[in-house]
Symmetry: D3
Subunit: 233 residues, 6 copies
């Protein structure tokens, strides 16, 4: 399968579904990680241009841990809106990726960039196969399935599916460790470290589901749905 | 009564509330069918301009089956957004129509054009009677009531009201038969025919409500509401 | 039509749907008011037997204001449970009444007797027409429709329908005035008077719906539903 | 796997998940069909004892179509309550069956026997492995997973999973054809035939999910959940 | 504490949380009242410019009743949208105010300006402390807490917290009395007076919560939340 | 204040709200811990009588850690039902305790004893002050407030309030350490230890709310509510 995960900022995917992406990759699927914004506000000291460059390199390194492709969409951090231009950009990106499965931010997440990135993907899903909507990339041959991944800190997210990531938790940590610039930022802004954060979140989702470490998902509400097995690893 | 139904694309109204519109018309009410977008992506082979022209004629023919007025709003298919311009256009359209009742797409429907068309109508409802919001058409004398019609394939729609359309199912089929250009498109895109689709959907809503064929609705959550009987036929 | 309203205690119906019952009666429908429990705890000074007798007479007087029939079910106040015996008693009561419409307590109301009375009615609805469930009264010929009326103080109740009771508010007050024994009790237990309570509640529901005074209802979620107009006055 | 489906009355399982059971069986799983009540009210003319005997034989024949085991629990139709005795009976039944998966009625279904049967299964799920709760059958070795199947006519049921039953729709019809006594009853009570009913319902769920015929399910909300693939065929 | 309330139009804050603001002020907190739009459509006779000027003066007078600061944001009435410009304006406004608590419109309110004003505040909450998002005002030192106040007429609002405003109801009335231009408008548009409206609404919320007069609130769903006491007076 | 927490089994309170109880106690409030059932199934090897005796002693020791009173209600483990007898027993227990605040199991918790214990408390809340409902203990003088505490593993629980228990986490661990008999049981039944479980759960609720360790609560939906500050420590 071809799996496309779309995060709002560099490090969102690693935090929210990194173990699942590692598991997909280990099972031989093609994994693509798209980052909607350039993460340029993620520093208390560096300029926007400086931190954006650094974060792109960090995202690249994190994707490389699981041999995933990085897609840098480069929208301005904190100012992603759903409009004609972004809808077409997301559509073109998805058509290039030709995914069987899209992993996306849930509509209840805390940050507007998260909610908007998820919303645009939901909006364009049925457009992916329609020829008369013209993009540089050709239409997809079939409509991809969309799963929402967990929200940051699990706020207002009721899981439908759990993926056991116990065997992939080390890879998840390695991916997050690539985001070196964010360590001080998180400590400063939210008073926590990545490792402590994901240790507790992943164990919590594990306790809920009988796994050591887990991540969780919902099926996006849409049509046409598809019957048969859930396409999670 | 004056009844205004607003569909996102040509054929949406026929599929989702065509029997109810036929029933309104048969009871002597004035029925107006507004189509928000030009349906220009609805073809795997024709150009946008070609298919838009064809679909407008088909929509006109379908409206004629029940002697309804067609209102062609001509926004670009797949790219309807809620903004200053569309809000004013919808407001002007509603003020021209002076409806007692508006039938609109529900906020849980699968397609962004559907959700946006319903959202704009919800947004402008209380503006219809306000003089200082200037449009070409004069303000309405009273605020219309909005009912949401069923979603495509009933996804995430919990009906509040059912309308028995058994006596009007043939008219509903005739209306859909006018959309000749979409037969091949639907078969190609979704693997189904109009007739098969509405036969099962309408029977399903009928089984739920004790009718042979039915369509279903929700009251939109808003204020001021109105007491007294539901304005459905 | 035949209309059966079932309240948990004497005075519940008058508070929650008294105006609507008066309106039904004024329109020529047969109105029956069933009281599930004997209200025997509704006094800070009188014995259970004394207050139960008084309240039955008060309920009788209140029903007489709108020429409704009173059905005294006489279950112990505060201890109504759903079991074999109460299910059969409610079923027999409904079959005797042969209602087209049942008005019942909503499942989110604050008092267990309210919730239980509504629950039993919901449970027996489809049993009313089944011959092999034997009761003294014969089976109904058709399944009645159930509407839930407002909860006390509107807690956790989202109205679907409003009934304009402006012309019947005086009758509602007269009905409540029959419950003389409860005036001191309410003042003592909750620090309010009937008249003040229903004045604000009925005006609040009126403000929501554009009427001077209103009461509100939900359709109970069940099957088979019925198409066509809502059976509220 | 061992699959236990528990229906409230004879024919409920065939209507609501018969195709899925046939698919499980075809895949080599052990399928057990437990019927909570004896269906003794399901006749407008026969006595309780007569119709109960007939329906047991019909249920046996339907189970035989897919080589499933029938478990006849024999509670009185229309009067299934959750109490000490029924909880222990359901617990013992499940422990005998030792299922990996339980298919159960959803809590929003229209009939109290349906809701109660599903509720008891939900209640006893975590008790199945506890030694100090003594039943004739020994404790299970692991806690089974519970999926809720669709409600009758889909009332208030939001599907999470769809099972493609297109290849098993003929078997579903054969299973229902075994319930000969119910044909006249359904026609009389609800004005429809089994075949017409399941044709439209199964196609409707298919239209939602891109299959010709489908059935749908929810995961029951409980703990401990389990990670990994959904155990539906 | 520093308390910032943001209303969509002049008079919204007085109606929906005026008593609570008076209570905050009486307790010695700094109260700021921001008005997102200029209210220029609020007249059946005056021009936009005329009525906007009048309403600003009225809002100023109302704020003065409780010695609150007025912040006039001056967006066009009925046309507030969430976009790059409004997001930055709201962010700058909040950073100037440096609030501990923000009171905002709830997402279920009836008017699009209400919903949009609340949405933008929800969106920018986590941005308030981020240095790289540049505004004229410097970043806040801590993320403010957001409470949603009641909707107009309580439509679709389930209260979590009630504030007893009995001692401040006279001040609430005085604040509303400052909006003289709206008296005729409300009578004309909705057939009611401010005083009658807030008398019933405030008593209704009081009846729900055991106070004479009350206003009610919800905590906005977001992250990071904060532990400890609710910051309502 | 007088605080009554009611757990279904020994150790439930310590897991779900032990830190909050410790905080109440440290603030000088009277804390009472009632245990609805005797916990007699909580052993893979001991008899019911043996393990019940052991668990009562353990519960006593845990309560002693924070100088709380233990109330042993002694219903049979796994078989708590809501009926006339249990309703009166709970009512008498609450009247003896005369609480300002009750902490109770939430209606979405995974175990039927949990849900039933919470349900009975919800049911009897308004009965506590009614003289004509006779119990050995006299009626309360005021109706207590009920907060629901978190569910086991947080399943289907959306927190409204968080209590920072960072300073009381050691006491919470000490309380749980008293339940020695359950260590092996939990390891055997669910493959985890108390300490690991509460470490992750309490940190997770802390991450959500900006505390090191937290517990979370909801206000029960009922009437009459009370205005003013939340009564959590």
């Amino acid at each position: 399968m071809r799996v496309l995960a779309v995060g709002a900022h560099p490090d969102d995917l690693e935090i929210l579904c990194g173990g699942t992406l590692a598991k997909y990759a280990a099972q031989g699927h093609d994994v693509m990680m798209a980052i909607a914004t350039n993460g340029e506000v993620g520093s208390p000291t560096l300029s926007k241009a400086e931190i954006a460059d650094i974060r792109r390199a960090e995202a690249q390194a994190a994707a490389a841990v699981i041999s995933a492709d990085l897609i840098w969409m480069n929208h301005p951090d904190e100012f992603l809106f759903s409009n004609h231009e972004t809808r077409l950009h997301f559509l073109n990106t998805v058509r290039h990726a030709r995914p069987d499965v899209i992993l996306a931010h849930a509509p209840t997440d805390y940050h507007p960039d998260h909610r908007t990135a998820g919303q645009i993907l939901w909006d364009i899903r049925v457009m992916t196969t329609v020829p008369n909507i013209e993009t540089e990339a050709p239409p997809c041959e079939k409509i991809p399935e969309i799963y929402y991944f967990d929200t940051v800190a699990g706020i207002d997210f009721v899981p439908q599916f759990y993926v056991d990531i116990s065997q992939f938790f080390e890879l998840k940590k390695q991916m997050l460790a690539c985001h070196k610039s964010q360590a001080a930022w998180l400590e400063n802004q939210y008073g926590m470290s990545y490792l402590e954060f994901i240790e507790h979140i992943s164990r919590y989702r594990g306790i809920q589901s009988g796994a050591l470490y887990a991540e969780c998902f919902q099926l996006s509400p849409t049509w046409p749905k598809r019957p048969g097995p859930v396409l999670l690893p």
